[in-house]
Symmetry: C2
Subunit: 303 residues, 2 copies
């Protein structure tokens, strides 16, 4: 199953000529999940040729403009394209009123429904579950109510050895049970053990998104053992006072969280526009958590 | 005096991977004037390294999202940068309420004042005048109230021949009058005629912006003899029925307007996303008005 994330924007509140405002696009088995929607997100979706017809769920961490101002344009574009399917938006409960009030001046009638799913900000919450995956929100520590999100594949089914389907004359109707672990009885009444017919699938993957937030170990239990952790690193270690004042994190703090959470990989992002080059933020993080990389607009990470 | 326009976005309502949403940046003697502000305008201003600290006036043709959704982000960015100067916005009178209501959820207190200048939509109007230039609005013909704008340099002063300043010992205090046409009396009492001391300056330049609009000859008197006319050409000639239905123009219609107005140059833009290549729109226009060019994002035109 494909499981990847594309970085659409990696700046903090001030965009630069190299870094757009925050948005990540998660691909889970060719269904798309947008996390945050800063201004220009629909332009980045076009640039990187995302299949927006397969985007049905948008997750908004918090109601700061650099994470939300792309919503009116994206919602309008879906309307111009004649979308019919429901668009699900998971966000602070105020967002529904804000967006509909603003759009009422520009759009008479949307061609599709939007369902707002209100987040809560004092405890973790299961906000989406389907056959393939779960999504949980969990509180971050910022100036206004803010959530992180963790996307987890469900443990995949066992893989069937294709050459044995023909050999044992297994009918298509028996395959789902075999993938779940059942043995197979042949026409001659012989029992073929499941471990002969199938093999272990790849492990279930997970992706956690933590922006914007100051350093908080309260999130560790939510993101423990995550495959890829995106954690904001707005500031370098030497600017920790700024991080504290604005309730953001340093690169060192992001790495400490990744280490404590036993993450497999860390992506740093949401960089302050003051850093023309973020190599020293990467270096600072790598001293604590070596498997760290830097978010760049257009970067796609296979999880 | 510098007088140029930079195209920041050249798509119509649906952006493409090559064309952003509408915005033009006019440079008049290193003061900047933004015309329309589609989503992503602040990102384009960054990309093309515009001096946004010198941007004090924004002109909005009409209240469709593809011409306005960049305003919240640009206004927020000015705020983050600690702007103090007044920002002037010339637009439909409803925009003030729409913008302040929306931003009230995101910004507690702006660091600078915004002055909204309401446009009228039934007759031409002088909306800005300073020592260097005038700006007039004039009605276009679209589905909602829409204005075009024409920016005109004031006739420049005569240019003084620098080598004669020393020769006749002209003092700095006499130069302004000479530039305005005065003769000069030397220390010996000899009268030096102005036409000896000065020469004709370049002609006053003008730029007209007409988007969105169906074909209307009502605008001809407003834009006659303009140096550069930007006129929307959302559709090709063969799609004229679509142009009529949506109150947009074809490339042929834009060229007819340029010809009737005796414009010196025509720029086509606001292209429908259905045209991967707009060469045939250019060809159609050139048959009627040869000095036509196509808007491309990032293109700068010296007027």
């Amino acid at each position: 199953m494909s499981f990847s994330v594309s970085i659409l924007g990696s700046s903090s509140a001030l965009p630069t000529s190299e870094r757009n405002l925050t948005a990540h696009l998660l691909n889970v088995n060719e269904r798309f999940f947008l996390i945050d929607c800063g201004e220009g997100t629909q332009l980045q979706l076009r640039k990187y040729k995302a299949k927006i017809s397969r985007l049905d769920h948008i997750f908004i961490t918090h109601l700061h403009g650099d994470h939300t101002f792309g919503l009116p344009g994206l919602i309008s574009t879906f309307n111009l394209l004649g979308r019919k399917k429901t668009l699900n938006i998971y966000a602070h409960p105020d967002l529904e009123h804000i967006i509909f009030q603003f759009l009422s001046f520009f759009i008479v009638q949307l061609s599709y429904p939007i369902k707002f799913h209100p987040l809560i900000f004092n405890s973790p919450q299961l906000i989406l579950e389907n056959g393939k995956m779960t999504v949980h929100s969990f509180p971050l520590k910022h100036r206004i109510p803010t959530c992180g999100f963790i996307f987890k594949e469900k443990p995949p089914l066992r893989k069937i050895r294709k050459e044995l389907i023909e050999f044992y004359k297994i009918s298509p109707k028996d395959i789902p049970d075999i993938k779940k672990g059942a043995d197979f009885i042949t026409e001659e009444g012989k029992c073929i053990k499941n471990e002969i017919l199938t093999f272990e699938p790849g492990p279930a993957k997970s992706y956690a998104f933590c922006s914007d937030t100051s350093y908080t170990e309260d999130i560790i239990s939510q993101i423990s053992n995550v495959d890829v952790l995106y954690h904001e690193a707005t500031f370098a270690h030497e600017d920790q006072a700024l991080a504290q004042a604005t309730q953001h994190s340093t690169a060192v703090e992001a790495a400490q969280i990744a280490k404590l959470a036993n993450a497999k990989k860390l992506i740093l992002g949401h960089f302050s526009a003051r850093y023309k080059d973020v190599t020293h933020l990467l270096d600072q993080a790598c001293q604590i958590f070596p498997n760290t990389m830097v978010a760049e607009d257009g970067l796609k990470i296979i999880i």
